[in-house]
């Protein structure tokens, strides 16, 4: 996975294995217990209802942003956090840029795998972009 920014840990190197939702569900079906370090990779249009029974034992969910202008992942994050009560790591992956981090965080993401060209040190400051908010 490479460099990931985590809200509580700063910049970390992370090698978590992410598996697509379909694969995860196959494993579950087959009674296989995934490696503890692995997480589910959600595409923004994945119907993640089938995943809900697993939320308590999942330690990592990654939501992909195929392009940064595709905002579906923000809604996915809010749903997972607010409606379904997912508490562990929620990671934004894909086309993740410095200028989106503030919004992503406010929707519930707490980890960010930046696009390769982004400067992680500078990105860390993005969480302070705004000190007030309306919502």
């Amino acid at each position: 996975m490479g460099t990931v920014i985590k809200i509580n840990e700063g910049i970390v190197e992370d090698a978590a294995q992410l598996v697509p939702l379909a694969r995860w569900l196959e494993w579950r079906e087959a009674g296989q217990v995934p490696h503890p370090g692995s997480g589910v990779w959600l595409e923004p249009d994945d119907d993640f209802d089938a995943l809900l029974p697993d939320l308590d034992r999942l330690t990592l969910i990654a939501v992909n942003f195929p392009v940064f202008t595709d905002g579906r992942g923000y809604s996915v994050a809010r749903l997972l956090r607010e409606r379904h009560g997912y508490r562990r790591e929620l990671r934004a992956v894909g086309d993740v840029l410095r200028d989106q981090l503030y919004f992503m965080r406010r929707c519930g993401f707490d980890a960010f795998a930046l696009r390769a060209d982004q400067d992680a040190e500078l990105a860390l400051r993005a969480f302070d972009d705004y000190s007030v908010s309306y919502q």
């Binding site: 940064f68 007030v132 309306y134 919502q135």
Partner: protein
Amino acid sequence: MYRYDETDQRLVDERVVRFRDQMRRFLAGELSEDDFRPLRLQNGLYIQRHAPMLRVAIPYGTMSATQLRMLARVAREYDRGYGHFTTRCNIQYNWVRLEDAPEILAELATVQMHAIQTSGNCIRNITTDPFAGVAADEVLDPRPYCEIVRQWSTLSPEYTFLPRKFKIAITGSRNDRAAVSFHDIGARAVRREDGEIGFEVYVGGGLGRTPMVGHRIQSFLPRRELLSYFDAILRVYNRYGRRDKKYKSRVKILVKELGPEAFTTEVEREWEFLRGGEASIDDARFDAMERHFRAPEIPADGESALPRNGEPAFLRWLARNVTAHRLPGLAIVTLSLKQTGNPPGDASAAQMEAAADLADRYSAGEIRVSHEQNLVLPQVRIAELLALWQAAVGHQLATANIGLLTDVVCCPGGDFCSLANARSIPIAEAIQRRFADEAALEDVGPLELNISGCVNACGHHHIGNIGILGVDKNGEEWYQVTLGGSEDAPPAIGRIIGPSFQAADIPEVVEKVVTVYRRQRSEGERFIDTLRRIGADPFKQHLYGGADGHRDQD
């Protein structure tokens, strides 16, 4: 009027800092054009035909004299001395320098203004009735609700990268002057018999390439759930709206593809979880917000009936540009930005300053922008109308044509816009010249004429009683004419009447349409009502019936 508190101010100031940094990174080559584009658009900055264009928000079209003076200053200092008021109640500057944009925004922030979300795929500036809070026919003042929605939508974390732009309009009157049926979400305030306030909610209206009248999906949404319900709509749209093709990505297409019932079911399902939650609004919030909009105390002594004697020009102006106020002794005045020869909606810095002075002197320092691209002074004492008129005449702000044919609604078209198929400003001017005779114009009576330079419909041509749309045919400018559009009572989209025309023929075409109307109308009947009664055929007949040599062949 709404006054910023510390939070509001800080947010706008921090936004300027962010944008300044984004612009710096862009100019330094640290931020690619692609990465920068959505950021600059969300700050109202377009790249246009001649230069960058900056669109500044005038939330729900309300501003103070101080703010208007700042808009004049920006026109003078950073542009070529004028600005363009748009059908979405914003102002656009056509000749700014990219590098100056952060500085302009910093100056605007000093008077509680910004360009946040005036463009881009996010929730845009909220619009309303230009007579909000003062109209005699109003159920309630929609502005406190507009401000609540403005705040909720500003830098919304979830809805900043929607499939496409999203426009919300709110009205407080049965007579819809905000065109709520033609917005992504339209809300009409209603007061139930038991006194409870709520909203009718319309979704999926819009103009552009696929014009549609919105569907009513709620007949009484309690006001405390206004935001939770909007949240539900936006979330359904954000998740399921199409992102594959730009012109299929508006919520109207989603509503159409799912069907209004299925769409509503989706929204209701989402709302189940959201209602009563964090986005619910309590009465204290409404009360606090309403206090901001309480009318200034203007002694309404003196006259309470409009003057009946005076110069004919003054009386004509009274009849056209003055509207009944909810309080006796006061009136609403519309300052026309439709003087022939002036591009519709354009105002020079001097005119803006003059309007600001008039507002200070005669209207408790408040100005509105209408989506018909005029300025409105909402609080004028009847006793001072004459003085106001005399002052406005000198600044070309008193053309007595509000609601008449020369009060043309018009987009910038090919003169400024890089998307245009044809020019629209010269068409507007040619029509205005054709109808220069005031008595004749007056005789034609209320008639909305709207012009757009391309299918995007920024000039609202679909909802003009007469609509004119610029089309391109083998590199030539042609114009398609629609009849029967109306923003209200009932809302309707105009129908194309036949093959398009060349620019030079348009004044004649409009004249012919008007001739048919004058022949067929019954006593006191408005253009739109005659048209609705007799249908479009007599008009077509008169326009195309005889081979007049101007038709194109497809």
